[in-house]
Subunit: 237 residues, 2 copies
DNA sequence: CTGGATAATACTGTATCCATAATTATGAAT
DNA sequence: ATTCATAATTATGGATACAGTATTATCCAG
């Protein structure tokens, strides 16, 4: 989890983030880039020197990363970059599929205006989704994986926002953050880009039909499909 | 999340927990007991003095608690105990219901031996569940809420273990930890004990019939039922 | 008596320092 | 030469000290 609190994110947005938070961010970047490789020992003094800071804020940052699961703290033995096994993926993806499926379901309900209280959301929201999807189509056609990846993230984020459940979003974000440890990008697999696009279309179609259950199912399959692609990628990189 | 890493819990069980971890635990206890009330400011120096330690490990502990969502860190303004609103409960319980429902589903599948690879788990596991349930029945009859509460926790834990998905368990544990901020115990509500018991019976019955979907549904309803009880408790305490 | 500016105070954030435990290197004995 | 014991080194965990900023108190003006 982020240092910002999950639900009640008390962000005085103009307040400069504390040093330990900046350090945590820098470390995340390095870990994701495998510049700090999985299993690698983290040299506190070395990094502190390199960052030009003392060990104190660095160690606080490590506590945060440990809570996120990006590093493992071994008492009296130091800190190591977390490594996630095949088994972890097998356990994580189904859960992620469950959560994201629920997001799709809720988002669809919200769009359909079936939710009590809130009332029907403007269809502007749907066009926003459609807009992002159009981007996906374009980037896929151009085989621009990086932009596709970015747009894909925006798509899922937009959906989460639509679903309007902060806790649900939080758990998904936490999970995805952890998953980024693999760095392997299943989109690079041969037919995966096209396949992913097709799955997105199916999700969007279900939402358009205001079929929440179908949207959930399609999203669920979409995530598991990502898992399968990743598995293939790991056997033949 | 806990300071122990979610998946790869590196616990050299005989290693004494670091001081910051012990401190975190003491703070959790105080927070749950509302000895540190929601919204209250946390006096670092004061607590450090009281615990007979320096501010360093205390601050590290606070970072951990912040990651768990139990406290909120405001840059340059200090640390405050998190307060969760009615809306948070409305967002959290459905997610918890989803997750616990999945646990029931997976556990049932495992019991039924439908899972590939692992093979049918010994029916000893089911009798263990049944045993815990018998305890629940007894404590309910005796109106021993505390023991009922404890046995209830064991029941859910046993189920999680059966389901065998560590990530799923982790998310549930995180969520429950956060929920404990309310401290309000829905079991204290008038007919809730009996009702909860009935729901447990339904869950167990579904599992016995090896009906995973039904088990999931019953568990789902069980959790949401807990939410409803809590809501009632908050209007008329 | 109220409002605002300035000074005093207190607390957070960071750096430095020290003690202790773990690891590695060294040496002696079998 | 191998193995065990012991010493040296290094890193972690914790305490203390210091700087900078937010908050509170005080005082003066209107």
């Amino acid at each position: 989890m982020n240092a910002r609190h999950p639900v009640d994110a008390a962000k005085d947005s103009l307040a400069a983030p504390a040093l330990y938070e900046q350090v945590a961010e820098r470390l995340r970047t390095r870990i994701y880039a495998h510049e700090l490789a999985p299993g690698a020992w983290i040299d506190e003094q070395g990094l502190a020197d390199e960052f030009g800071i003392s060990r104190t804020p660095l160690r606080e940052a490590l506590k945060v990363l440990a809570a996120e699961g990006l590093v493992v703290l071994k008492p009296r033995r130091g800190c190591y970059v977390a490594a996630l096994a095949e088994r972890d993926l097998d356990e994580i993806f189904p859960v992620l599929a469950l959560l994201e499926g629920r997001v799709a379901e809720e988002a669809t309900r919200r769009l359909a205006g079936l939710e009590a209280g809130v009332g029907p959301l403007a269809s502007a929201d749907f066009s926003r989704l459609a807009e992002i999807h159009a981007e996906l189509e374009r980037h896929a056609a151009a085989h621009d994986i990086d932009r596709f990846f970015a747009a894909n993230q925006r798509f899922h984020s937009a959906l989460q926002e639509l679903a309007g459940n902060r806790w649900l979003s939080q758990l998904i974000d936490d999970t995805r953050k952890f998953l980024k440890l693999t760095r392997r990008d299943s989109l690079r697999l041969d037919g995966r880009l096209k396949q992913s696009l097709a799955e997105h279309r199916a999700i969007l179609a279900a939402m358009k039909k205001q079929d929440a259950a179908a949207a959930a199912l399609q999203m669920h399959n979409h995530i598991l499909s990502g898992r399968a692609a990743l598995a293939k990628l790991l056997t033949q990189p």
